[in-house]
Every structure is written in structure tokens, then in C-alpha cells.
């Protein structure tokens, strides 16, 4: 242990760590926290379930409550309250799913696994009552007005006598039709997701499970129902004694659903990612090609207007795309690139930074090599791609990496060129759009944000040296 301390406190010259050292490390560690905690928080949130996110969960890890469903059914025996454990998450959150997601689930077969009041509760929960009732009416040739009956005004309802028809049916069908028509003693059944907590019995010490609808941290007690006897009414449990059953449950569907196109709707994450990959790769190739050509001309030839061209290219640094939005929008439209990914690729393909960086590097390639190539009967184009391009590879690699990052993270050019064409949205536009519109699907948005981080982070981790030397040598981003 003392060795470890010695290791961290040692300095060159074997002096002990001074106060400035401690301040330095303290500052660095603080910086580390400020930079990485938010990123880590994002990553952790991206594997939290939709339920947790909606509850504004402040746990660092995706600790999900163990959940139970509390259902209320009504029948001839009166009101029944039951608690169902071990239901799948999509059953619990059926109400939050959209039509497409619901259509994928075979709920009719699913509820066949249940009987009695559990069956009735789930039937109502999935909205199958009206479906089954309409089938029943059709099968048994019951009068057509029964279908419209639930939506009639009370005054209109008085003209019919549904009870007489219901009475002719068997017991199951009575219940179905009565639930549909709203005839007493049947009513719509309730279904809510609740949190499972437990507390030791004050006397016996035996662990007893309770179902809780919400836990308010500012209050001392929670309202709970016994799982074993839900009808027994609500008891108040002291909050500091209850055990909340939480388990580490990363919600991987946040990732798998959008990436396998299960999360349908207007957010097509796969297409957004594909568009971004296409833009990034093609734009980087074009950027490297034309910028190295320009840099070659500026560094290896003497010609009239050389300095003028160089200054013109550097001058474009002064007016960035964000300021020229209106004009670029006009030009993109005029050149027929609007709404196409090429409208994102081409306007940004020529970069003054790239030309400058490559030119400075190419100046260091000896002219004798070019002359040797000319003696070797090489054309100027051959000299460019067989001699200069390979020799400038170190600088070209730096530009390539920078270009990948620029393009992947770019927001302004996609906004100008493809705002009106959803099919051509890049990942950044998609995320921006998605976050604004669908708060209910935050779990997908967070997961896709993390996915969008992966390429740049990988590039950073493995090619950091190139990036830092590139920036440090040109002083440009």
C-alpha cells in the first residue's frame, strides 16, 4: 500500500509531491468528473426502460423496480382487486405502445394463458372486449344496434332493452356483452402497473410483499396493499423500513428495437445511420481527392495568380456556412442538390483547412522526386497520384480523420440541404428532430444518441494521436 502511495507521490528528483502537485491532480480529477459524468449519465440512461425514464429516475445504474400489475374487475360477486406478478413489460405498458407496436403482438393468444378475473382484466386491458363482443354479435345474429349502443346518448339508449337480449346468452357471453354495453353489475376493468416492495413483519420478521403505486420521497409513509390479500385495503408503511426490490435490468430493447426497425414510425434510425455513413465516407473521399489536388498545385508549381488563389482559399475560412445559410440554400436549390445527400456532401467537400494543412505538408516533399518522375516520363497526373498522394499520406490521414468527424457531426449543411426531405436525414438531424417531437420515446432517442457517439469515439480512442497532432500543427478545427 505504501508502495502505491509512493508511486503516486513520487516525482523526478525524488522529491515528495508538493502542494501544487496535489492541486494539479485535484483539478484534473475534477475535470474528469465534469467531462465524463454527463457522458456516463447519458449512456446509463440509454439502457433505462421507458418506465424509469418517465418516472425521472435518478439512479445511476438502470435499476428497475420489480413491478406487479394491479387489476380491478367487477362482476356479480362485486369488485375484485387482484395483483398479477411476472407479467412481461410490454403487457404492463400496453397503453404506451403505438398502433404499429400493438399490431405486432398476438394478444388474443396471449390472454388464453389466463383464466378467471385475470383473463377478464387483461381482456379489458388489451381492448379486446369490443372486438370479441362484435364477433359475438355477428356470430349469434344479434341485432345490429347493439354495436352502436355503447356510444349512444343516454336518451337514445332508453329506446332499447339490451338486458333482454343478454339474458338469452350463456354465462361467458353475458359477461362479455355486458362489459361491452356497460350493463350492471359489470363495469370496465382497471389495470395499472405498480411497484413491488417488501417489509419484514414487525412481530414475526417474516418478509411480506406489498404493491405500491408511487413512492413520494418527501413523505414519510407509502400507501401499500398486501400482495397476498389485495382486497384487504390500504396500509401505510413507514418509508424508511420498506425494502424496494430493485434489480439491474438494462433495457436493451432501447437499442435493438430501432436498429431492427421494430420501433417504427417516422424515426427510422437505420436509414439515418445509413445516410450518415454514406455522407461521411463519400464526402471524406471527395474531400481528400480535391483538397490534395489543390494543395499539390499550390505547393509544387509556380504559376500566375498562385498567391491570389491561396489567399482566396484561406479567405473562405472567414465566412462559415452558418452565416451564409440563405445564400447556400439558394445555391443548393439552384444546382439541383436540394433534398439529396449530394447536397450535404458537395458544398462541404472543399475545405480551406484541408488545403492549407496538405499544402504545408507537401512543401516538405523534395522537388527532386517530382523531377525524377518527370525524367521517368510520368505525366503530371501520374506524379500527383503515384508520388505526391502516397508521400503526403501522413497529412492526408489526419485530414481524413478530421473530415470523418466533421461530417459525422455536421448539422448545418444537412439542415440547409435536406431539411424538407425526411428520407435524406442524417443521424444528427434525426436526433434533433426526434428529441423535439416524441418525448414518449425518449428511451429510443437516448439509445440512438449513444449509437451516434460510437464512430467518433472509436476514431478518437484509436487515432487520437493523428487528431491532436493535426490540430496542434495547423491550429484549425
Amino acid at each position: 500500500m505504501t508502495d502505491v502511495i509512493k508511486f503516486f507521490t513520487r516525482r523526478q528528483g525524488k522529491k515528495k509531491a508538493s502542494l501544487t502537485d496535489w492541486i494539479s491532480y485535484g483539478f484534473l480529477f475534477l475535470g474528469f468528473l465534469i467531462i465524463f459524468l454527463p457522458v456516463l449519465w447519458l449512456v446509463m440512461n440509454s439502457v433505462k426502460s421507458q418506465f424509469l425514464l418517465q418516472k425521472y429516475d435518478t439512479n445511476f445504474l438502470p435499476m428497475d423496480y420489480e413491478r406487479v400489475a394491479r387489476a380491478t374487475t367487477y362482476g356479480p360477486d362485486g369488485k375484485d382487486i387482484l395483483i398479477m406478478k411476472d407479467l412481461e413489460p410490454w403487457v404492463m405498458f400496453w397503453k404506451n405502445l403505438d398502433d404499429e407496436e400493438r399490431a405486432e403482438k398476438d394478444v388474443v393468444n396471449y390472454i388464453k394463458n389466463f383464466t378467471g378475473n385475470e383473463y377478464y382484466a387483461l381482456r379489458s386491458h388489451f381492448g379486446l372486449v369490443s372486438v370479441f363482443a362484435k364477433e359475438l354479435i355477428a356470430d349469434q345474429n344479434l341485432p345490429e344496434w347493439l354495436i352502436k349502443y355503447p356510444s349512444m346518448f343516454p336518451s337514445a339508449k332508453k329506446e332499447y332493452d339490451p338486458q333482454s337480449i343478454v339474458d338469452t346468452l350463456n354465462e361467458e357471453d353475458v359477461r362479455l356483452l355486458s362489459e361491452y354495453l356497460g350493463l350492471k353489475p359489470y363495469k370496465g376493468n382497471g389495470f395499472t402497473a405498480q411497484i413491488l416492495v417488501s417489509m419484514p413483519d414487525p412481530e414475526t420478521g417474516e418478509i411480506i410483499e406489498y404493491s405500491v403505486s408511487r413512492i413520494n420521497p418527501t413523505k414519510d409513509t407509502v400507501n401499500a396493499r398486501l400482495v397476498s390479500d389485495p382486497k384487504g385495503g390500504i396500509t401505510k408503511l413507514p418509508q424508511n423500513e420498506i425494502i424496494i426490490n430493485k434489480s439491474l435490468k438494462p433495457s436493451w430493447i432501447n437499442y435493438t428495437d430501432p436498429l431492427t426497425k421494430k420501433a417504427l414510425g417516422s424515426f427510422d434510425a437505420v436509414r439515418c445511420l445509413n445516410n450518415s455513413v454514406f455522407v461521411t465516407i463519400v464526402a471524406t473521399i471527395i474531400t481528400l481527392l480535391i483538397n490534395s489536388m489543390a494543395a499539390f498545385a499550390l505547393s509544387k508549381y509556380r504559376f500566375n495568380g498562385q498567391i491570389v488563389f491561396f489567399v482566396i482559399i484561406l479567405a473562405t475560412l472567414m465566412v462559415p456556412a452558418s452565416v451564409l445559410i440563405v445564400g447556400i440554400f439558394k445555391m443548393v436549390t439552384m444546382t439541383g442538390l436540394s433534398g439529396s445527400l449530394w447536397g450535404v456532401i458537395i458544398p462541404g467537400a472543399a475545405t480551406p483547412t484541408g488545403v492549407f494543412m496538405l499544402r504545408q505538408y507537401m512543401l516538405t516533399i523534395p522537388d527532386e522526386l517530382l523531377e525524377a518522375a518527370r525524367m521517368d516520363a510520368a505525366s503530371e497526373w501520374t506524379i500527383y497520384w503515384r508520388i505526391i498522394f502516397p508521400l503526403a499520406l501522413p497529412a492526408i490521414a489526419v485530414l481524413g480523420i478530421l473530415s470523418i468527424i466533421w461530417r459525422w457531426n455536421d448539422l448545418i449543411l444537412p439542415m440547409i440541404a435536406v431539411s424538407t426531405t425526411k428520407a435524406a436525414y442524417t443521424i444528427q438531424l434525426c436526433l434533433l428532430d426526434f428529441n423535439g417531437e416524441y418525448l414518449a420515446r425518449e428511451h429510443y432517442a437516448l439509445a440512438m444518441t449513444v449509437v451516434s457517439l460510437i464512430p467518433t469515439t472509436l476514431v478518437f480512442v484509436f487515432l487520437q494521436k493523428y487528431i491532436t497532432t493535426g490540430i496542434a500543427s495547423t491550429g484549425m478545427k
Binding site: 494539479s24 420521497p217 481527392l289 480535391i290 489567399v311 452565416v323 444546382t335 503530371e380 468527424i405
Partner: protein, 351 residues
């Protein structure tokens, strides 16, 4: 998958034909890469064969200059055009010349079209004022932090590469991601409010990003968080270029640490510090993407331009003209700052 890529606009056709011609002409060339490269470069090959090497540099420059011309210089002129015309259309035929009306619309107290009180004027001035406040506060704060970090990293620190990477990492994040990251923490029900409530520091959640008394603070904080690493890196490179023996000489003379900083480090770092300051001024004036995605409670100059241009969302009748006029004003500010930067870096750029 790429339906939007292969909508056959004329550019695509043009390039296909261009490459096909090159492909046919390079029939004597074998191997994939040589064939591809001669298919791309055939006009240069032919010019050299027919007219010699005199005009070749211009051909090598052509693609770059074409793109700069089409998407940097022409847009600048287009902006001039839009700024002196009215209308929702982007076609100049259906826009009316209006002289400096757009300038009046964003600067004068009185609405020139109706004679009433001008609201646009207030919005633009608010954007100008808020951006000014943002720049004035953000730049010095960021430069100071960046300088301090660079100095710390220039010491004999264990794991310097690691720390440097940590501080640089946010630069790699896209503005949208940065915004989400912090929205998650700063929104009404976000991490920060929740935690402070748990600690009983505040009783009601605060909308950090929208609340007028907090929005500027967090704008500056997030913007600095995202960009500080870049300037830190340049400053660190500057610090490392100061010869070691100067410090050793100072040590031999028994100079105190503070004196070494004020008399050696700072003067030698000054040129780079100046450049970095101007560079960050330029970037701060253009601040837009992060702030836009964060949906902060104020409008920066570039946000003002984007919103009026109606590229995302509703077009208004005067919007395009106003946006163009505003962008000319911003461009003017940026050009002045850039010339200053160019003046400061002129020694780096060998002409």
C-alpha cells in the same frame, strides 16, 4: 436504401458520364486503382498532352475553386441579393427590390411597412446584445480554463496522455449530442433539479435552460465544456514548444514558480494565446448548433438568421431578406475578426 442518393439529378448524370469517358479513354491502363485514377484525371492528362504543362495547376485547383465559388462566394453575393429584396420566394424574379428596407426592419424603432412599433428590431437587438454578452463572458472564461488546464498538463504529471485525451474528448462530440447530454441533466425534471431537491437545496425544480436568470450561465457552461479541449490542445502545443533549457536556466537562478510563469511562460506563449483568443471569438460569435439543440432561453445571432430564413419551419414574408441582412452584419464582424487572426498568424503562413 439510398433512394435520395440516386434521384437522377443532372450532377449525378454528369459525373457518371465523366467517369465513363475516363473509363473508355484509360483502356490501356490495367489494375483497379490505376484505372480508377486515370478515369478521374483524364482531362488533366489530355490537357498536358495537347497544351503542355502551363495550365495544369489551374486544372488541379479547379474542383476546389468551383466548390468554393458555388457554395461560398456566390452565396455571399446571393445574400446581398436577398438582403435588398422582399418576398418568400428564393427566386429573384419573384422578389421585389426594396433597397435598405430590411436593414430598417431590423434596426429601426418604427415599422416601416405599417408605421407601428417594430418588434423585429427588438428581436434583432436582443440577439445582438445577448450574443455580445455571451461572447464577452464565454471567451475569457474558456481561455482561462484552457490555459490553466494546459499549464497543469504541461507539468510532470502521471498519465499526461490520458488526461489530455479526457479534456479533449468533448470536442469530438457532435453539437446535438452535447445538447442532449446536458438537456438530460438540465431539463426541468433532469438530474440536477432532482438531486438538488433531494438534498433540500431547492424546493421546486428549475428550468435551468429556459429560466432567464440561468440560461446564459448554462449556455456558457455547456459551450465551454464542449470546446475548451480544442483550445487547451493548441495552448499545450504552444507551451511544449517553449525550450526546456529556459526553465532550467531559471531554476539555476533560483527563480520562483510565479515569476517563471509571468516572466517566461506567459510572454513566450503570448502570440499563441492571442491567436487562440481571436479564434475562439470567431467561433463564439457563430455559436448556434449547441444552443439551438439545447433550446436555450435566448437567441444567438446565427439562431436568429436560421429562424428567419425559414429553412426548418415556417417561412415569413420578410424572413429571407431579414435573415440575409442579418447574416451580412455577422459576416462583417467575422471578416474583421478573421483579418485580425490572419494578421496574427501571418508568420505561420508562408506565401
Amino acid at each position: 436504401m439510398f433512394e435520395s442518393v440516386i434521384n437522377l439529378n443532372s450532377w449525378f448524370v454528369f459525373f457518371t458520364v465523366y467517369l465513363l469517358i475516363g473509363f473508355v479513354l484509360s483502356k490501356e491502363v490495367y489494375g483497379f486503382v490505376p484505372k480508377l485514377m486515370s478515369s478521374i484525371g483524364w482531362p488533366i492528362e489530355f490537357t498536358q498532352r495537347l497544351f503542355g504543362t502551363k495550365s495544369l495547376p489551374y486544372l488541379f485547383l479547379f474542383p476546389n475553386i468551383l466548390i468554393f465559388g458555388l457554395f461560398t462566394f456566390l452565396p455571399l453575393f446571393m445574400n446581398f441579393g436577398f438582403s435588398v429584396t422582399d418576398g418568400t420566394s428564393i427566386n429573384f424574379e419573384s422578389r421585389d427590390f426594396s433597397g435598405l428596407d430590411n436593414l430598417a426592419r431590423i434596426t429601426q424603432e418604427v415599422q416601416i411597412d405599417t408605421g407601428g412599433i417594430n418588434v423585429e428590431n427588438d428581436k434583432f437587438q436582443a440577439a445582438l446584445y445577448d450574443t455580445f454578452i455571451f461572447v464577452i463572458l464565454q471567451v475569457p472564461i474558456m481561455i482561462l480554463i484552457a490555459l490553466f488546464t494546459a499549464i497543469v498538463l504541461n507539468r510532470e504529471i502521471i498519465g499526461r496522455g490520458f488526461w489530455r485525451a479526457v479534456f479533449f474528448y468533448p470536442v469530438m462530440l457532435s453539437p446535438v449530442v452535447v445538447a442532449f447530454l446536458w438537456t438530460l441533466i438540465l431539463k426541468r425534471q433532469g438530474m440536477l433539479s432532482q438531486t438538488l431537491i433531494d438534498w433540500n437545496w431547492i424546493s421546486e425544480p428549475i428550468q435551468w435552460l429556459v429560466d432567464p436568470s440561468w440560461t446564459m450561465f448554462w449556455s456558457i457552461f455547456v459551450y465551454t465544456w464542449a470546446h475548451m479541449g480544442f483550445y487547451m490542445l493548441i495552448l499545450l502545443a504552444g507551451l511544449q514548444s517553449i525550450p526546456r533549457d529556459l526553465y532550467e536556466a531559471a531554476q539555476m537562478d533560483g527563480t520562483s514558480d510565479g515569476r517563471v510563469f509571468w516572466r517566461i511562460t506567459l510572454p513566450l506563449l503570448m502570440p499563441i494565446l492571442l491567436v487562440v483568443t481571436v479564434l475562439s471569438l470567431i467561433k463564439a460569435v457563430q455559436a448556434f448548433e449547441e444552443l439551438y439543440a439545447l433550446q436555450v432561453g435566448w437567441i444567438s445571432l446565427v439562431s436568429y438568421i436560421v429562424e428567419n430564413a425559414g429553412i426548418r419551419g415556417q417561412k415569413t414574408f420578410f424572413g429571407l431578406g431579414i435573415a440575409a441582412m442579418a447574416s451580412l452584419i455577422v459576416a462583417l464582424i467575422l471578416i474583421i475578426l478573421s483579418l485580425l487572426q490572419f494578421y496574427l498568424t501571418r508568420r505561420q503562413v508562408k506565401l
